[in-house]
Symmetry: C2
Subunit: 317 residues, 2 copies
């Protein structure tokens, strides 16, 4: 009757859960991140809520895993600056040890999400996956032969920053034409707003679904219009999934994983994302290099990183 504590520290939300060895979530405490509160506010919330969860768990809590929404040097177990101040170089695992008396393993949210889906979600039964988060940006994590692949600089799985287009748009990373600039939620929304400006009639239904405001168009409203068969929205989805297909094919050629799992807000579009994506992949496929890598949507939704945090905890327990 053991358990572990899993913690997901994200820019918008934070989540804390108690999990058993089979990955069942026994208890949960979650809330919105107050980024103005900085590190201290977040640590205080975690401390308070974790103590409460541990107190009422009714079984021994053996270890802790943390998914951190920012760069983590896994080898040094060092978290880095998020958009929230105070985290740079902070020894989060030591803090957990001191405050909660639990050994702790920390990884970034993309890796934790990959591990969560691999152990408890859409990756169950495979030996290798690429997990891709399609949200504001594009992140990713790789599991190879049942283990997270971190890479030399803890940068493995950064599919969002594969260079795709030679004359592409500037990317948040400082590069140009990265996959993220072409098919992240942000990129899709931006494309929709651009098209609405120049061709409002083409985007009429998407504008309607965006409260009538062309500037309120997001990837979500575009996918909703596309689901209704709207021509303009379908055009944008087709374009974005074309780039995504090329990015995933690059990963298939290099890793050839058992499964690619798409998470993040954009993946909530489900078949409206997968259907055009499969069409593009089919068109790109080469007969002499037939692969059987499957493409699936994340099963744990927004909770993939939290489940991955639990899996990290179990690596210590």
């Amino acid at each position: 009757m053991d358990s572990v504590l899993g913690i997901d520290i994200g820019g918008n939300n934070f989540r804390i859960g108690i999990f058993d060895r089979e990955g069942r979530r026994l208890d949960l405490s979650e809330g919105r991140t107050d980024s103005s509160g900085g590190r201290e506010w977040m640590l205080n919330e975690i401390h308070k809520r974790s103590q409460s969860l541990i107190g009422k768990a009714g079984r021994q809590v053996q270890a802790c895993g943390i998914s951190f929404g920012g760069p983590v040097n896994y080898e040094r177990q060092e978290v880095s600056s998020m958009h929230v101040s105070g985290w740079r170089g902070f020894d989060l695992a030591r803090w957990v040890k001191e405050k909660l008396q639990l050994d702790c393993l920390v990884d970034n949210d993309a890796n934790a999400g990959a591990l969560g889906e691999f152990r408890y979600g859409a990756g169950r039964g495979t030996h290798s996956i690429l997990y891709v988060t399609l949200s504001t940006g594009i992140g990713g994590g790789v599991v190879c032969e049942d283990k997270l692949l971190h890479g030399r600089d803890s940068l493995a799985g950064e599919l969002g920053h594969v260079p795709m287009s030679v004359a592409g748009a500037p990317c948040s990373c400082g590069g140009r034409g990265c996959l993220e600039t072409l098919c992240s939620g942000t990129a899709i929304g931006l494309r929709g707003r651009g098209l609405a400006k120049n061709n409002p009639e083409l985007m009429a239904r998407t504008i309607e679904l965006s409260s009538g405001d062309p500037q309120a168009i997001t990837a979500e409203t575009i996918f909703r219009a596309a689901a209704e068969g709207d021509k303009g929205a379908l055009f944008i989805v087709r374009e974005a999934t074309g780039w995504l297909a090329r990015g995933l094919l690059a990963a298939i050629r290099i890793l050839n994983p058992d499964r690619i799992i798409l998470g993040g807000g954009v993946a909530l579009a489900g078949k409206h994302l997968l259907d055009p994506l499969h069409e593009h992949l089919e068109a790109l496929n080469a007969p002499t290099l037939k692969y059987s890598t499957q493409i699936a949507v994340a099963e744990l939704g927004n909770y993939s990183p939290l489940y991955g945090a639990a899996a990290l905890g179990w690596e210590l327990a």
Copy 2:
């Protein structure tokens, strides 16, 4: 005083060696592949020469590893059709067991090359490498956490078929715009001959080095002219290494290996390949995603797959 037998079966050459546990080559027998002789001729050569090497080895030969110059389904240990007839579905390991009384492990030449460089060449001291062969085509193999990564369909490491250019040239794989169509030895030679046709004055020195025949221009003569500082040749090298840099960056973003090792005929250009490649990578690098993956040239030259075959043998011994 143990040893293993390593065999490299290639389209142009075949090589057989006896290796000790440290990867020292104790004896070697090699020759040109007579492709008109088909499978039977090759097996006969291997049988004869292997028996001779084993007979005079003076130490026990414990197992055998084979690098095969064609697709290998590693899981099923099944070799597939090369350009030479008779190999499709042939159980090479069983043949070795029957004829030479040695357990045997078979892999394709790109994977064997990766393993050879990892264990005994430019990858020594690392935990993960991507090995890339730049020759007629572009092949590759991945070592992750000290083990070859095969992938679900034995297709991992196929960097040559990462899609790079949307409106690119048709590729031998049936795809379009693959990395291989942009910077393989074949592609570089083709580009040189095309430029020589339209701008002979620009390619004057390369034509000279190609026995005065513009149609005899190859990647090799282009790199030789580039090494002399010839403007036209440098232009082609700069263009090809630009594509190669983008391909390698894709692999760095996805795998972030300790080292990328470039082998094959084109890599013999050494610094004349590496210098422009590093310039391109520097220009593409994003400040927020600084990686320390190193780029090196293969140390074992044409013998990387043979050394890898020996390493495969040692996995059984």
